[in-house]
Amino acid sequence: MASRLTRSNRAGWLFALPGFSLLFLFIIIPFFFAFWLSLTNQRLVSPNPAEFVGLENYRKLLSVAVVTLEPERDEAGQIERDSDGAIKYPRVRTITRNSDNPQYRGMGEWFRWHSGDNAKVVIASDVVFMKALTNTLIFALFIVPLQGGGALLLALLINQKLRGINAFRTIYFLPVVVSIVVISLLWRFIYDGDDGLLNSLLGMLSFGLFEPVDWLGRTDTALGSIIVMSAWQAVGFHMVIWLAGLQTISPTLYEAAAIEGSSRWQTFRYVTWPGLRNTAVLVLIVITMQAFALFAQINVMTNGGPLDSTQTLVFQAVERGYGKQDISGGSVISVVLFLLVLLISAVQGILTRERK
């Protein structure tokens, strides 16, 4: 293999050179650069020289601990409860800001659960990062079936010989061509809490019964709104990939299936789907990777809010690196993100490998 690449293949390498050098310059070098910066305390703006700090940045980013809060008791030893009957606990700050526990200094509550009368609180030294990580994973988990499935459905609809079908192809593909920033701005109006298009539409359909929802202003709807909008935006792109896959399936197979009298579902299940196998792997991996890079929508629509419900890894990397002038902080997130995507792609690669 190596010999075939090197021997009498000067022209091949020469042709590949422009592409390789661009990849090297803008992808590979920056990655090693980011990895190196993540081990220093490099700032964007500073007269102080950068120092090597080892894994300190990773420790600050990833440290978590579990602390136990015991209920507050009155003098008789009875557990104190508030007016709703919920047990009263001391504040987490009594532990994290206590000079007896220097190891918890600077940490904050991520989430908690109850075991018996006690509350177990998971504290993290970088709660915002933890929330960004969770949100990004949730986003990827929902966007893959939504976008991939939606795109397949559209591709199947489009893959018919009907008059004017090209018009539909164009319409479905349109959002891909428009800048994501413009689309995000438009969807901000659609999701507007008072008189946005979505609220007006739902109000009209329910004859005014529907109470307007502030889609981007509530912690329980903000991320979902971004997922739906993102799926809609990129669905056309993956539709085209599916379409390409559909058109590689030989028509003779469909003819044979028709002669055998297979139903539409059977045709899809036993002819179309196996024929789309490689396309499916491609679509799956591409959507996953794009999902982890979620940034523009957040930057334009929510800025990570409300209450960190739409923080994402890339948004935090940019926010720290440029907004807070902390290049090393942004680099650490980038490296963690790289490892995460690498891991997930590797797992997907293994799971979807063709078994012989």
Binding site: N41, V45, P306, D308
Partner: protein, 421 residues
């Protein structure tokens, strides 16, 4: 073949030498501004530049403007690449950060020339002047005089502002009247520099601050002490009790919400005053309420400075001194509605002259204004403060949120070896 090429090359060199020889008479000074898109600002700047270029033979200012949104990034990128212009403008609170980073050099301007300038227009760091502003800005509480009279509210003045109770009573009166959608608009959608600029004075009036200004080494106690928690709870109540719309507010409200009668009161800047007066006949501009530790508003707007790498600081200083003329300060104010830096320039404008419709703003700037924390760390602290206030408005626990903000600010100060204080 080779000989021809050499000859052409030689010819080009001598031709370009001739050309640059002609331009040698005036040394070029490059200048950047954040005002791209703001035609009036650029027009006045161009006027100053052409006047200056014509007034002497030594220097020629060459001007370039950037959109405000990407201006700071452009400057930081240029500094990293070693391509800073000679003269540049800088947002007042960001100035210490750029000085600390070594971007700027002290101005050599005759002190007597800026004696009468508003305090917010002078950018000091370590007792040296690095920036000077051609204008300042101020915020006030926009209200309707007819409402104040109808609800029997006392007219507050700079010397006798509303107390917290009077302010809340005014909001309650607005709420009970049922005339408006919300009693108050704070412009919560604008989560940029607006938050620290407009809201940190409230925190300071409660007795807290973004960072401990005696040492600038920690925010502990200032941003999460009793006064700050009291502020945070009051802040949260504004949104929970329906006095004001939260961070998901419609972005258009800041410009048109008060005019369209959506709000009884609006916390807004003097740059909206002219447009509002045109639509609301009896609008009055009230000073900030006093929450216990004085009535305070933010000070400092954009200022002009000279880069550390400028090869001709004499020329750059001469240009800035030239631009400090009252007639230019008045022109900026007339064109953009900003507060002129000197009382004499104020007298030359229609709006800010004694008895003029915006004269109140000049008084606010002169008497109430307090600069934001003067530290290179402000850039980060402002971001942390903004997030904390948005989170509290969205219902986050007050003490925990402020603690987290303190932790982040402290760790940032530590990472930067104390920011050179």
């Amino acid at each position: 073949m080779i000989r021809t090429a050499t000859r052409i090359a030689l010819g080009t060199v001598s031709a370009s030498m001739l050309l640059s020889g002609a331009a040698m008479a005036q040394t070029e000074l490059t200048m950047w501004s954040h005002g791209a898109g703001n035609d009036v600002e650029i027009k006045v700047l161009n006027q100053i530049i052409s006047d200056f270029n014509a007034s002497q033979d030594d220097y020629k200012v060459v001007f370039e403007s950037f959109p405000q949104g990407s201006y700071n990034d452009s400057v930081v990128a240029a500094a990293l690449a070693g391509n800073l212009p000679c003269i540049l403008d800088v947002d007042g609170p960001v100035l210490p950060n750029w000085v600390w980073a070594g971007y700027l050099q002290p101005l050599q301007i005759d002190e007597s020339k800026i004696e009468t300038f508003l305090p917010g227009t002078k950018g000091y760091w370590n007792d040296q002047l690095y920036g000077i502003g051609f204008w300042d800005a101020a915020v006030a509480l926009f209200a309707r005089k007819s409402d104040l009279e109808a609800w029997g509210l006392r007219m507050p003045t700079v010397d006798e502002p509303w107390t917290k109770d009077e302010f809340m009573a005014a909001l309650d009166a607005a709420k009970e009247s049922g005339k408006y959608e919300f009693p108050l608009d704070l412009g919560m959608n604008d989560q940029g520099e607006w938050y620290p600029y407009a809201f940190s004075p409230f925190l300071e009036s409660f007795g807290g601050d973004i960072v401990d200004r005696t040492t600038y080494q920690t925010a502990e106690g200032a941003l999460n002490g009793d006064a700050a928690i009291e502020f945070g709870e009051w802040w949260q109540s504004l949104f929970e009790d329906g006095y004001a719309p939260g961070p998901a507010e419609d972005p258009a409200d800041q410009a048109t919400g008060f005019i369209n009668g959506k709000f009884a009161f609006q916390w807004n800047g003097n740059w909206r005053a002219v447009a509002t007066m045109a639509e609301v006949d009896d609008v009055v501009f009230l000073p900030a309420p006093d929450f216990g530790h004085g009535n305070i508003i933010g000070a400092a707007s954009w200022q002009y400075a000279i880069s550390a790498t400028c090869p001709n600081p004499e020329g750059a200083n001469a240009f800035i001194e030239f631009a400090l003329d009252d007639k230019y300060l008045a022109a900026f104010s007339e064109g953009m509605g900003l507060i002129p830096s000197t009382p004499t320039a104020a007298e030359m404008t229609e709006m800010y002259a004694e008895g003029g419709p915006l004269a109140t703003f000049y008084d606010l700037s002169a008497k109430q204004a307090m600069v934001r924390p003067v530290t290179p760390g402000y850039v980060v602290q402002a971001k942390v403060f903004t997030k904390a206030l948005a989170d509290i408005a969205n219902g986050a626990d007050v003490a925990d949120t402020l603690d987290a903000a303190v932790d982040e600010i402290d760790s940032n100060i530590e990472n930067n070896q104390g920011y050179g204080h």
